[in-house]
Symmetry: C2
């Protein structure tokens, strides 16, 4: 998918609100800058709960909402289960009040466009702006050169092979749900579905700080839990997590969530293993 | 319906083509001028047949097509029956080739926006531009002051009462399918559905030059035809026609088509009365 395809598909997604198409397309066309990435109808998690924002600019962590946040109903809860959810806790949210006149709505949009443009300019002046490059953003080389992957950079990969290759592997393919870390034997690279799937009752807390992992079968769950607690199999107690999610255009993505460590004291049979986030930035490594 | 509602509804109509929403919204937002009226998905008749254009600017008689014209299939022929169809014979049609890169598409749109802007500027300089006013465009006073109604001005009214009041009536309501012309007893004001409806098999030719009118019952059709040919009821042989159509947003409109005169030599039982267009501009009159 190139930028053209991406932009066209993002701007033609089914609309939920009457004014959404007008506001979203106006902002994008007036920004008029294909170095700026955007996502329409982005699932987010915020202190007050999960929601959809109408337009998200990941390079500046800024969201646009057309009036009220679109709170999740039951139908959306089904969709959100495997969706790519962005933690928007410290993100800026700008609202467009569409109850006003068309001239006033246009003036509000004008201000938003100015604000985004000047944020981009500021980042550019400080040499902190990375122009949207739809090939490079999914390329492990980009992150190997940078030396790290940080949660604030909204990093996701299209394959688990690409995840592995950020940490020193040189895989042509990788089919398993986890991989060793070539440079740190205490760490496992993990690509879980963080929602109930197959025999696994996985979950991630809305603030992304806690992941729980449990087999739905009590016997298997007990065996799994004891294996970790007693270290019978030499399992790693740290995991770099790239969650298996459905991207905004229905594509499969592996979204960086951080480095998690097993909390032995919190892990118990009813909930299974409990993993706590320790780092939101991890080092990357070239292949040797 | 105010401009805000109109613009929002026009820009959020169901889209048929992949690139349509992108191109249409980009042109409107970059034109950035609410004095310019536009219609999305306008039915048109052209020498090569009926079609849909993606965007129509009635003040400059200019259409935008995203690549290929959207030629009518069977489903669309059902819709087009009662649709508001614009005769685009002498209109300008600009095409956007969306097979190109996003940068090239944006450059094509930039040229189109420049072209429309300079057309509007030229009309304004020549004092020929009427800014879009959603109240005045449907107000009989507008056309009484102007002194005429011309086909090139794309005139339509919301009620038959408003049509009548353009010609000297002062009706508060009018329920019939025709009305007398207060200033010319040879002329009738006619508000027909120009497609088969009820017991009437009416039709208008794609070039709008010929209207046929016939009852589907042979006995009634003969009586109707002979009444006109023998002038037994003193029926007027000239009609100012405002066709009863469905507007682009599903609203009822009475669209000016011209002054038609009965062609006695062409009228015959198989097709019924044949009306030929004589004028595309008619005088308006104030109420006395």
């Amino acid at each position: 998918m190139d930028k053209k395809e991406y932009i066209i598909r993002q701007l033609s997604r089914t609309k939920n609100k009457k004014y959404e198409a007008y506001v979203v397309t106006r902002i994008i066309h007036l920004l008029n800058n294909i170095d700026i990435k955007f996502v329409t109808q982005q699932y987010v998690t915020r202190p007050e709960g999960r929601a959809l924002t109408d337009l998200f600019f990941p390079q500046v962590n800024l969201h646009i909402e057309v009036d009220e946040p679109h709170h999740m109903g039951n139908i959306e809860n089904d969709k959100i289960r495997e969706a790519d959810i962005v933690n928007a806790t410290n993100h800026e949210i700008l609202r467009v009040d569409v109850s006003k006149s068309i001239e006033d709505i246009n003036a509000q949009i004008h201000k938003i466009v100015d604000k985004i443009s000047s944020k981009i300019k500021q980042l550019t002046d400080e040499n902190l702006f990375t122009a949207w490059n739809i090939d490079l953003e999914f390329n492990p080389e980009t992150y190997i050169k940078r030396g790290y992957i940080d949660i604030s950079d909204n990093v996701a990969f299209k394959t688990t092979k690409d995840v592995c290759n950020c940490f020193g592997h040189n895989y042509a393919g990788w089919m398993k749900g986890a991989a060793p870390h070539p440079y740190d034997s205490d760490i496992k690279l993990w690509f879980p579905k963080l929602f109930p799937n197959g025999e696994w009752r996985n979950n991630i807390s809305p603030d992304e700080e806690t992941i729980t992992e449990r087999n739905e079968d009590d016997v298997k769950a007990k065996e799994h839990l004891n294996g970790f607690i007693n270290q019978t199999n030499g399992e790693q107690l740290k995991r770099i997590v790239f969650a298996n999610v459905k991207g905004s255009l229905g594509d499969r993505l592996y979204r960086f969530r951080g480095l998690y460590e097993l909390s032995i004291k919190d892990s118990e049979l009813p909930i299974g293993l409990v993993w706590q986030r320790k780092l939101t930035r991890v080092k990357t490594y070239p292949h040797q």
